[in-house]
Symmetry: C3
Subunit: 346 residues, 3 copies
């Protein structure tokens, strides 16, 4: 499909500088754009690419528009406007309502007639699948699961019994929702399993990445609030709560019973201790170890930038030297950092 | 189902303070408990919740029992007693012995008549499935795999050829047991694959979390001993050996040929170098880099608690300053830390 | 099967010291080898095992051959020679060309007649499966996917629409190729999804480990060059590019739009910031945080070896003390480390 710039300006209520009859049919990066493509500029670091772009039109803010060599769609938030136009140009493939012959749906499950259940999906007893849902190929939907309208499980998603998903939830392949949490009682040298009888409750407009795992609660539920975005290979322990519109990048792990506030932004590869509380509007940079609660909004870090190995070994040697010196001076180190102490108890 | 406190006291051999006729039918956290529910107190940090709990009864130790407002089941290990009672109140759903019509079982596989093989499972040539096993939906069981009695593969577990599982092994969705290890010989700029011909051997009473991967051995086998508990998204390299009753939290990775002793407790997000040996009874706190062998039991760490980013940048600047100063002073750093050196060779 | 040492020497063009009629039928580690087995020595740390090995023959270099108690196959690269012999002794099981009755193949897909499509595989519209491919059980192949000749998807691999794989690509269970990248535009407190319309392109001779995820590009493609080896549970963000013959160990995550050069060796558990560039021939040791671009080949690190917890707490206390002291002295920390600053902007 192609669409005229004038139509885009009207539909999205934005200013157009240039010929409203110009049409675009695809999106492209500024540097690789060609005829018929729409590009965008939102990262100031890429501004130098604007002068030479061959895009048919560009989405950008008013300040950048002056130096744009092509027709410009102007928005104070060009990234968001671009996202909306891209969604228009690249619509999701329409559903084919119905249940594939190879899918296995329990007689007591209720699948809305407008939903699509793909090849080799399995839907358990008492499950409820809402209107216009996509249950992709090889998805496993456990007993008593509830999935709200317009949710899409792309493919091979595992949803354990009693998990609840809101509306417009998007889940990518390999995600496992509602597996048992890691709960044991120690008895001598053995571990005795504590039955994990809570569930997972997921709000509306949540996206869950490939191979991400969200454990069911031990007793109460694990809760993911509305609008949360989870990247790939994230691990969420039992009874974790994540506040609305928090975004978490890939490979981050959150230990059991930790609560993260709303609108937080968590970098990739972070680790959260269990039973801590992070307030709203916290930003954690990548690979941080979050070992204690945070009660003030702001940016938090503890990663050390990489160094040439030879140079780095000097830093490590220095750190050890400091510890040795303190040890000789008789400092115990024990009461100096209660947070660290705390973490040892995990 | 519901059960009388008197019956619980007799069955589990524990002291009851209160009316033996009182019945419980569910478990709940102290803070959210209501009529008919049984709660427990094992973490001293939650002791303050005891006074106001509305639980019908509470499992706790003798010291706490005095301040318990409800009937009390008393145990020196209340967490373990609670786990046993919860398992009684929330039994696993009974098996439906037999093979689902959509499962594909090789003619040479032997599936015990008391086992349940669910929808779309695939069982390869020569595999042996023991008594009362659950092979959940969409599990793939490779050729010559052996699975001991009473094991449960919840759903979508992949077990590669020749893997052996003991009795009462519990495996969660997305786990991959027996994929090839990461073994190559360098030849010029290319990598030549070294065939991975070992297997994976897993003992009795092991639990394996969602999306955890355990690679088959290169030549000899990868070995997980009895009673080991592995959380989600753990990676175990080829020829690793893990000793009995060791518990490892989520997102930890263990490089090839490393041996970890018995009864260790490993935090989440740790990384182990290859070819090292960790003795019995070691505790590693979360996100630690274990780059060298450990021969003394105890607690080990190297995580740095998170800081406000501005404050943290000062620490980083200081570390770099130290290295620069040493560099100017002509220190090489090369022989100062043989362990670090070692790790570079990986 | 068994094979004579003389035949091996001829086939692989290597020197044999010993009886050419001696036959081997299996491979084994030096320490556990027995009659009829072939072992190898390439790691000098294991040289002490050579004297007592019971292997029928050993692959090693000329220097070590003198002290070998058994017939010796001599190569300057014994690991590579061993890999070739092992591949000969343990050939992949032959394909059974054809499509399993339970597989679901779209009528418009083209599957080469020499390929094997296993039980419960699903192949989408317009997909093309090359000669002698193995599409293992429960693999999902999306629409328009192209898979080159001699590629093997072992089992349960998810390949999203339009992904391209080269020839001789080997993919292990649970891998997800082509899921959506993590791309959102912020709009008030909400996140607006940016359609991910790029694809994933994978070269020849690539190996991809179990439960590894490679996201499709946002606009342009994510690209994995020829000969790249990816271990298990690796996360590759959208628009990442990885150069030829780079090897990456397990649990490493690479953020979006980062480019890694050719012949790099990346340790396990590393994290790469987005939008950075790593040149060719870089070695990164395990668990490093790569927060800025690297333009010089060499070895880079930032892991701190583990310490007994008590001793480590002293190091942490010292680091905090330094920061406090600097803070009192009025140093801002803000402009000291632009790279760190950069990372905060992610």
């Amino acid at each position: 499909m192609s669409i005229a710039l004038g139509e885009l300006a009207v539909r999205f209520g934005c200013e157009l500088r240039g010929d409203p009859e110009v049409r675009v049919h695809a999106v492209a990066a500024l540097s690789s754009a060609g005829p018929g493509t729409l590009s965008f500029l939102s990262n100031p670091k890429l501004a130098s690419q604007l002068a030479h772009t061959r895009a048919e039109a560009v989405v950008l803010d008013a300040r950048s528009a002056a130096s744009c060599p092509a027709p410009a769609l102007i928005s104070p938030n060009p990234h968001a406007l671009f996202a909306r136009i891209a969604a228009l140009l690249y619509p999701e493939p329409p559903l084919s309502p119905g249940i594939h012959a190879s899918a296995i749906v329990d007689a007591s499950a209720r699948v809305d007639a407008s939903a699509e259940v793909c090849a080799q999906a399995v839907i358990g007893a008492g499950a409820m699948i809402g209107a216009r849902c996509l249950i992709g190929p090889a998805c496993l939907i456990g007993a008593q699961v509830q999935i709200g309208a317009d949710s899409r499980l792309v493919a091979r998603v595992t949803v354990a019994a009693r998990t609840q998903l809101g509306e417009r939830v998007l889940v990518h392949p390999g995600a496992v929702l509602g597996a048992d949490g890691f709960g044991y009682a120690r008895e001598g040298e053995r571990w005795l399993k504590v039955p994990q009888i809570g569930a997972v409750r997921i709000g509306d407009d949540v996206e869950i990445g490939a191979n991400t795992t969200i454990d069911r609660g031990a007793i109460d539920d694990t809760i993911i609030a509305d609008g949360v975005k989870l990247d790939n290979q994230i691990q969420i322990g039992h009874n974790v709560q994540i506040g609305a519109h928090t975004a978490i990048a890939a490979c981050t792990g959150i230990s059991g019973s930790t609560r993260i506030g709303a609108r937080c932004m968590i970098g990739g590869g972070c680790g959260f201790a269990g039973h801590i509380v992070i307030c709203d509007d916290v930003v954690i940079t990548g690979m941080a170890m979050v070992s204690h609660s945070i009660s003030d909004p702001g940016v938090y870090s503890n990663g050390i930038p990489i160094e040439p190995a030879r140079r780095w070994r000097r830093v490590v040697a220095r750190l050890k030297l400091m510890a040795d010196r303190d040890a000789r001076a008789g400092k115990s180190g024990q009461s100096e950092d209660p947070n660290q102490q705390d973490q040892d108890d995990e």
